[in-house]
């Protein structure tokens, strides 16, 4: 069953993705090397990070060729983490304000 239903991308695609990951990593390294700071640094680093993660998931982990049912299984629960990030960011902000107010 696995052999029959498994989509086999050509090796050349893996080599291209490999090269792309190298280039993206190199770009995010350059962001640090040239000491880009502030909002632009965050934007660039997160942009390259999301691209790299997307390419790894889509091509290396074959998710691009999987059925929608599996994509939903992986994608929907992960959204909960984003909600948690927002909640904890609000909480951390509040803790920092109280620390700066009462402990310094």
């Amino acid at each position: 069953m696995s052999e029959a239903s498994h989509h086999q991308p050509p090796i050349s695609l893996f080599l291209k993705v490999w090269g792309l990951l190298f280039v993206l990593s190199f770009f995010s390294y350059l962001v640090d090397y040239y000491e880009v700071q502030g909002g632009l640094r965050w934007a660039l680093v997160i942009f390259f990070m999301v691209l790299k993660a997307g390419v790894i998931i889509a091509v290396f982990m074959h998710v691009k060729w999987e059925r929608l049912a599996l994509k939903l299984l992986l994608g929907l629960p992960t959204l909960a983490i984003l909600v948690f990030v927002v909640m904890m960011a609000i909480e951390a902000n509040y803790i920092q304000i109280t620390r700066l107010t009462f402990f310094s």
Binding site: M1, S2, E3, A4, S5, H6, Q8, P9, I11, F14, L15, V17, W18, L21, F22, S25, S28, Y29, V31, D32, Y33, E35, R41, W42, V45, I46, F48, M49, K52, A53, I56, I57, V59, F60, M61, H62, E66, R67, L68, A69, L70, L72, L73, L74, P77, T78, I81, F84, V85, M88, A89, E91, A92, N93, I95, Q96, R99, L100, F103, S104
Partner: protein, 227 residues
């Protein structure tokens, strides 16, 4: 295998009708070997573990009143008298990406039935993974011995840095080490022809785990070292 196609194979693979057919039929929901489903569910759980670790890291970094240490300086290396920020980390990143590439090709050759190439590529993956762990051990030694950073103390800034750094990179390093052992065991069994009857889905399943380890490193690289 029966000759009649399953309902899920008739409806589209990437449509909502396909999702409904997958969940409603009196059959397994996910049209793949059970081991692959279990690996995906394990990886989803692992996503939450690393997700919570990184969220915890964000929370302590945002809430501390002390200055967060400059990671570019902590992890800088001097080569031929010139100081490069994050050189070792960049090298570790390239090694892990390369190992992901060799693993992806091993999966392809496994399904093509080329056992020799599969074993060689998996061995290359395991060796690259091992060198990654070695470099991480070197990095930890630098931080602990030369810079005096501890899980409970950090002479360079906020104390929380030591705690989250050792916890998250340590947990990731253990994942890499576990992956190396996992790959070595599967590669040995491929070499022995253990999967000639069962099929080579196991190589793909092992690959999923390995790519996930690489994926986590993408996030650690960005959030710990670059930002």
């Amino acid at each position: 295998m029966t000759a009649t196609p399953k309902e899920s194979q008739v409806t589209g693979t990437d449509t909502w009708q396909g999702v409904v057919a997958d969940w409603s039929g009196d059959k397994e929901t996910f049209a793949m070997p059970w081991g692959k489903v279990m690996m995906w569910i394990f990886l989803l759980g692992d996503t939450f573990i690393f997700g919570i670790f990184l969220v915890g890291y964000m929370a302590v970094r945002m809430s501390t009143a002390d200055a967060w240490p400059e990671t570019g300086e902590i992890f800088a290396m001097t080569v031929f008298g010139h100081e490069f920020p994050l050189l070792l980390i960049a090298l570790m990143t390239f090694i892990l990406i390369t190992s992901s590439g060799t693993m992806a090709m091993a999966v392809n050759y496994a399904y093509l039935g080329d056992r020799r190439k599969t074993v060689l590529l998996m061995a290359a993956t395991a060796l690259l993974g091992l060198s990654f762990v070695g470099m991480q051990a070197f990095e930890w030694t630098e931080l602990i011995v030369h810079k005096g950073i501890r899980p409970w103390a950090n002479p360079l800034g906020a104390e929380q840095f030591g705690a989250v750094f050792f916890m998250i990179t340590g947990f990731h390093g253990l994942h890499v080490l576990g992956g190396v052992i996992y790959i070595a065991i599967v590669a040995r069994r491929v070499h022995r022809g253990h999967y000639e009857q069962k099929g080579y889905a196991i190589v793909e399943i092992t690959g999923l785990y390995w790519h996930f380890v690489d994926l986590v490193w993408v996030f650690i690289f960005a959030f710990f070292y670059l930002l």
